[in-house]
């Protein structure tokens, strides 16, 4: 009984679950061939939750994986084709938050913010969901288009944990897929949800932080209003406000240099892949 593979249907999809299984036939692993990508997918998550394993599963590449946090320090890129649409997927360094200053966190944060991916997949460890949700919530502050991939579900099962992905999806406002990427379980559903969010078939209503103290809430609201007035169409004004209040030098710089302006002018919907800013090399 325990060896039975549980093909959990995509959480919020109204479509029949069996279709997604059939959809694996729609996957073509493109390896490092990512020319003319229609959409860009970012792969974020805590260290050592299996981002590179997910990356390898969909691209057919063999990015080196290892059981230790901090393995991926640069960003690896690859491609896949799903249902006739070409995707470029970027494996970001694992980070516990997006609020601090080390180089690997900055690479991840800058890519999600300024690289404007069409979908950000946040990979989370099912056995450590609470800590992983910190990052999920931070990512949802930045972007509207996200899919949460609760990975290592096989390990969670081994520990006797069950994860209610429908409940989680309702709370977070974005699709949630349970996967065991090492075994390939759940990858078809993940691909389908990425596709639905990228093409706009699924519209995310991501949860925003609600628990902050009143004084903080007030300050964020004021600054957000001012930012929205100056930059109409800025997709993540609230997050920019949070960073400015935190005294983030990188954000102040983005404001001064006009980087934020470009972001605002691109508008909230990015559609086909935009040229990405080269933000990788920090000194």
């Amino acid at each position: 009984m325990t060896t039975e593979r549980i093909a959990s249907p995509p959480a919020v999809s109204p479509a029949c679950a069996t279709c997604s299984m059939a959809n694996l036939a729609n996957l073509r692993k493109l390896g490092i061939n990512m020319e003319d990508a229609d959409y860009v997918v970012a792969l974020a998550g805590n260290p050592n939750v299996g981002k590179s394993t997910v990356f390898n599963a969909v691209t057919g590449l063999r990015q080196h994986t290892g059981n230790w946090p901090g393995k991926t320090v640069g960003r690896a890129e690859g491609g896949f084709e799903y249902a006739g649409r070409r995707y470029k997927i970027v494996d970001l360094p694992g980070t516990y938050s997006l609020l601090s200053t080390s180089l690997d966190e900055e690479i991840a944060r800058n890519f999600i913010l300024f690289g404007r991916p069409d979908v950000t997949v946040v990979v989370a460890d099912a056995t450590r969901l609470e800590r992983n949700l910190n990052l999920v919530l931070q990512v949802l502050e930045i972007t509207d288009r996200a899919v949460v991939c609760v990975n290592l579900i096989d390990e969670a099962r081994r520990l006797g944990l069950t994860v209610d992905e429908r409940r989680l999806a309702r709370d977070l406002g974005v699709p949630v897929v349970l996967t065991a990427a090492r075994q390939g379980e759940g990858i078809p559903q993940l691909l389908q949800m990425i596709d639905e969010v990228a093409t706009g078939k699924f519209v995310c209503r991501p949860r925003r932080l609600q628990n902050e103290p009143p004084a903080l809430k007030q300050a964020v609201a004021t600054l957000t209003a001012q930012l929205t007035a100056a930059y109409p169409g800025l997709p993540n004004a609230r997050w920019v406000a949070l960073r400015l209040l935190d005294g983030d030098e990188r954000m102040v710089q983005a404001l001064r240099s006009g980087e934020l302006l470009e972001l605002a002018q691109a508008g909230p919907t990015s559609g086909p892949a935009q040229p990405m800013l080269q933000l990788e090399a920090a000194q």
Binding site: V73, L168, L223
Partner: protein, 481 residues
């Protein structure tokens, strides 16, 4: 769409500044707390836990042993010794099979083929005795140990042992003023120093990152393992009776590897007390769950991704190096070949530090890749002792089927146990390969620090080998007299 002007930007920044004052210093903490609370609530609703925790927690039990104060280090050393021992004793047989095939069978066949189609002697010498032999030698020496060592190392990595090593070493790193994550970058360096240098990106503080970059070279890399393993098997293993030879050679290699770790600590300590002074930063290290390694997949990927890639790199450097050595051995100026001139010139200095001119020339030739040190040494030694009576011409490696043959050759070239020990030491302590130097430059963006990282180890290597040679000779003198 309106374009915000500089005044608008300044306005926003001013508002942010004043609001930050109003909210007070605890902004970051408040935000984090809100995040944590929210995450806890959501996770609580979504995750159902078993009523009673499992009675036996394997992960915790393992961690209890692997990271314990008493057993952590002994287990670490034992694992290291076992890995080396398996590598050394397992590599012997396939190594000699490969060299029989590539050097004894294919090379004479190619030579006779060349003679049959009337290839001029210089062309067949250049191609077959230079390019082919160097490449074949690299393959037969390097492939078997790498094909055993990498999968073993990757299995440990896959299992989740590396973070435990970092955990064990964290305290020591902190005491020498370095970052605990340096243990991870150091482990990466055991595979490849260039990769280790890139891995230092996980260290946030620039000061500690520089320390990690400069000291990464003290992790023995791919290119240097074969040198250590071969020299240890020939000279150190020979000191022990035959049944123990493998174990003794493994211990010899382990001592050198541990000396590297010790030097990494010592140099980190020195740097953090002098030019790179500063606070030690704290960090979270998550000990990931142990995962049963996928053995077949690991063996496959580490063979394809690591072994073959490293081997290919060695071959691409060995082929031109073989050509250069053959040319330098056959270009005669004033009665002696170019190589002989160079070796004679470096010999006095080499002997002073317990090495010889051949080894120093080999290290100059091997700046692009450490992998070709041993083949170069063998070719040049052959040249110097004039062992050309096998009719192969100058600068040709004759067929070395067994370690005994290599030993005989090297002894004819004036090698002693001191030469072997100092070669192992110098192989550990010398400049990083050119790829690593370039990576250091890219990562630090500083010519000054790149120069420090490149030159400091060479200076240290000369000092250490010089001291060892003097003390060795002193003791030998006392014992003899």
């Amino acid at each position: 769409m309106s374009t915000p002007t500089t005044p608008a930007v300044n306005d926003i920044l001013k508002t942010a500044e004043s609001l930050r004052w109003q909210v007070g210093g605890a902004f970051h903490e408040n935000l984090m707390e809100a995040l944590y609370t929210e995450a806890a609530q959501i996770a609580d609703r979504a995750v159902a836990r078993p009523d009673k925790p499992p009675r036996f927690d394997l992960d915790r039990t393992l961690d209890h042993i692997l990271t314990s104060r008493r057993w952590g280090f002994p287990v670490m050393l034992a694992l290291l010794a076992i890995v080396f021992w398996i590598t050394i004793s397992g590599a012997n047989v396939p190594s000699s099979l490969l060299s029989q095939l590539l050097l004894d069978t294919i090379h004479p066949f190619l030579k006779s083929l060349a003679a049959a189609i009337g290839l001029p002697w210089w062309l067949s010498g250049f191609l077959l005795d230079g390019v082919y032999l160097a490449t074949a030698w690299v393959v037969s020496v390097m492939l078997p140990p790498m094909a055993i060592f990498f999968p073993l190392f990757t299995l440990l990595e896959d299992f989740g042992y590396l973070p435990r090593v970092a955990f064990n070493l964290d305290n020591t790193f902190r005491r020498v003023g370095a970052h605990g994550k340096q243990a991870l970058t150091m482990s990466m360096g055991f595979g490849c120093n260039a990769a280790g240098v890139v891995a230092t990106r996980i260290i946030d503080s620039p000061r500690e990152r520089l320390i990690a970059i400069i000291t990464n070279n003290f992790s023995l890399c791919n290119g240097r393992w074969p040198t250590q393993i071969l020299i240890a098997s020939i000279f150190i293993g020979a000191l022990a009776p035959a049944p123990l030879a493998g174990l003794v050679s493994a211990l010899g290699v382990m001592v050198i590897a541990l000396l590297g770790v010790f030097l990494a600590f010592a140099v980190s300590w020195g740097l953090s007390r002098t030019v790179l002074r500063g606070e030690v930063s704290t960090f979270h290290l998550e000990l990931p769950p142990y995962r049963p390694p996928r053995i077949l997949q690991t063996i496959y990927t580490s063979l394809i991704d690591r072994t073959l890639i490293v081997l290919w790199r060695a071959v691409t450097f060995a082929a031109p190096a073989g050509a250069v050595i053959w040319l330098s051995a056959n270009l005669v100026i004033g009665g002696a070949s170019v190589a002989e001139h160079l070796i004679r010139f470096l010999d006095p200095f080499g002997l002073l530090i317990g090495l010889n001119g051949v080894i120093l020339v080999a290290y100059i030739v091997a700046i692009p890749a450490n992998e070709i040190v041993i083949p170069t040494v063998l070719m040049l030694t052959t040249l110097m002792i004039g062992a050309t009576d096998v009719g192969a011409g100058a600068g040709v490696m004759f067929e070395l089927e067994s370690e005994a043959d290599v030993l005989a050759l090297l002894q004819a070239g004036g090698w002693t146990l001191l030469t072997a020990v100092n070669l192992m030491l110098f192989s550990l302590i010398h400049n990083p390969c050119s790829t690593t130097i370039y990576t250091i430059y890219k990562e630090t963006g500083s010519k000054k620090w790149t120069a420090v990282a490149a030159l400091l180890p060479v200076a240290m290597g000369f000092t250490v080998t010089f001291l060892v040679a003097q003390i060795w000779r002193l003791i030998a003198g006392i014992l003899a007299g």
